[in-house]
């Protein structure tokens, strides 16, 4: 049996599938948090979720609206200070996977969450760095989830908030970045992975019904396509029903549909 699903749903499900069971995941709020909790509620029940506000091993029943909802603390194995989260757990190398969103991304999976336009006279002032630069620097690997548009997939970032693969292959090692950097970017249209040597993002999986032409049309550079391009498996009915239940519970609790 297959169910209908939306572009956002296959994005979330595909992101969730990236997370292996028994790994330790540092979760950003919004799409990453939704995908990570979907993973925990489906194939990865022992996934360890760490939120920058302090909870270690959070198991929220509804999605948090903020990065520090009480639900995260009461369901966690323990809650430490935010200072400790960043020093001992993230910088200390205890995080397998960092899970981030972005406002802009470039071909080497560098990220902007700071400003659109000039820094001193911005068109749009975005929230800023938060925990992202050090998650991108120190996590064992990084997954990025965002919707793919010409505004988000840009030739040149307005501001480099967090480094992915910098200027390409070898950049991270040369610059002493301890984590492995972005391993995949999951969008509403497909999945992009860095080329093993050049580190340029390459389309490796395309969601059913999406064309390469459509994806290239919303990518701000000439997107490379893998010679082994796959079609993303459709969400299973179990994945969709768990996701929808989670969203409904969350909407009922917060009085809104989740982000």
């Amino acid at each position: 049996m297959t169910m209908d699903y939306s572009a956002d749903e296959i994005m979330t499900v595909s992101a969730a599938r990236m997370l292996r069971n028994r790994t330790v995941c540092f979760v950003g709020i919004g799409l990453p948090s939704k995908a990570a909790n979907l993973a925990r509620l489906t194939h990865a029940p022992e996934l360890v979720l760490i939120y920058e506000s302090g909870p270690i091993g959070a198991k929220p029943f509804i999605l948090p609206l903020s990065i520090g909802d009480g639900e995260l603390c009461t369901t966690a194995d323990t809650t430490v200070s935010t200072a400790e989260i960043f020093t001992f757990w993230l910088q200390g190398g205890k995080i397998d996977v960092g899970f981030l969103g972005a406002a802009q991304i470039d071909r080497f999976a560098n990220i902007n969450t700071t400003v659109i336009g000039d820094y001193d006279r911005p068109v749009v002032r975005l929230p800023g760095a938060g925990g992202a630069p050090e998650i991108a620097g120190s996590a064992g690997e990084v997954f990025i989830v965002l919707r793919q548009t010409l505004k988000t997939f840009v030739e040149r970032l307005d501001f480099v908030t967090s480094v992915g693969h910098g200027e390409g292959g070898g950049y991270r090692r040369r610059n002493g970045l301890t984590g492995g950097g972005p391993a995949a970017v999951i969008t509403d249209l497909g999945i992009l992975r860095p080329d093993p040597s050049s580190k340029e993002l390459t389309l490796t999986s395309i969601h059913p019904g999406v064309t390469i032409h459509e994806i290239r049309a919303v990518t701000g550079w000439l997107l490379r396509v893998s010679s082994n391009l796959e079609i993303t498996p459709t969400p299973t009915s179990e994945e969709l029903s768990v996701l929808r239940d989670l969203e409904q519970r969350t909407a009922a609790a917060h009085g809104v549909t989740s982000v």
Binding site: G54, S66, T79, T87, L126, G176, L177, V256
Partner: protein, 285 residues
């Protein structure tokens, strides 16, 4: 030793125009009551420091108390932009706002160095990012053992830390629990500290190894039930996520913002009326 003071007196006495003020709280225990009192007293030219400036900083900035912001993430968590913060940065309303920007890990090191009596803190950070280009206070330092280059951040030492906590005892020892953020670091880094609390009790009876601020590192303890609302106080009331969403509407226009502030913050009993609309706080206020 801390004095137990009315909040208005503590703000009047301990926060001066031009001070560097850190109202901390990581989503949990945000000191809204104290922030509203700072607005009511029309403090000026403050440098506001905080990892996660949210609604209360949006309100303080929109009401013109600050001329500088030191921060790492300024948004309405899970909702979107802080429109008053953006209006100040993008269009200098009500006045221009200097910005000094770090990452969370950078501010953590700044507070930690301040609390630890060190002039700077070190971290693995900022490599390859544009943040050092726009913040001259991010420098680098070389490890004398390995030759590695690391980021160095100067200590943050606010004039005043302002935090909210669950309870204090009658001599002013404070117990904080749940998501404790960087409140302890901010208090220990600051010259003075104001702590608002949900209740003042005869005995704290903290669990082992709890986050306790001893009376002698706190300047003033102020009873402020519901003082974190619309943020939350674990064990007392939940975060009012609906208000955080509503704020997105209220704060989009300057006029609607000013109207709301007059009614709910500046007016006599404004904050009380605001809180009383919400049953879970109303019971405690």
């Amino acid at each position: 030793m801390a004095r137990i003071l009315p909040l208005a007196d503590a703000v009047a006495e301990l926060i001066h125009d031009g001070d560097q003020v850190a109202c901390e709280g990581f989503t949990h225990l945000i000191p809204f009551a104290a922030g509203h009192e700072i607005i009511r007293q029309q403090k000026k030219k403050l440098t506001l420091v905080r990892m996660t400036p949210d609604l209360i900083y949006d309100q303080m900035i929109g009401m013109g108390v600050a001329d500088k912001l030191v921060f790492s993430w300024g948004g309405n968590p899970g909702v979107g932009s802080l429109h008053r913060l953006r209006d100040a940065i993008e269009r200098q309303w009500p006045s221009s706002l200097m910005v000094e920007e770090l990452s969370h890990a950078g501010i953590v090191q700044g507070y930690t160095a301040g609390a630890a009596g060190l002039p700077f803190g070190i971290l693995r950070g900022f490599t390859g990012t544009d943040l050092p280009k726009v913040n001259a206070r991010i420098k680098s330092i070389t490890c004398p053992f390995t030759g590695e280059s690391l980021a160095a951040i100067p200590a943050i030492r606010p004039d005043v830390a302002v935090v909210h906590a669950q309870k204090a005892d009658r001599v002013g020892n404070v117990l904080v629990w749940g998501i404790i953020g960087v409140q302890k670091e901010a208090v220990l880094a600051s010259k003075r500290a104001i702590v608002t609390v949900e209740e003042i009790v005869d005995r704290l009876d903290p669990p082992p190894n709890a986050c306790v601020l001893p009376s002698w590192v706190v300047s003033a303890v102020c009873l402020a039930p519901g003082g974190a609302y619309p943020s939350y106080a674990q064990g007392y009331y939940d975060r009012d996520n609906r208000f955080y969403q509503l704020w997105d509407q209220i704060s989009r226009s300057r006029e609607e913002f000013l109207r709301w502030m007059k009614l709910n913050v500046l007016a006599e009993s404004g904050r009380l009326n605001f809180m009383e609309k919400f049953s879970n706080i109303g019971r405690m206020a």
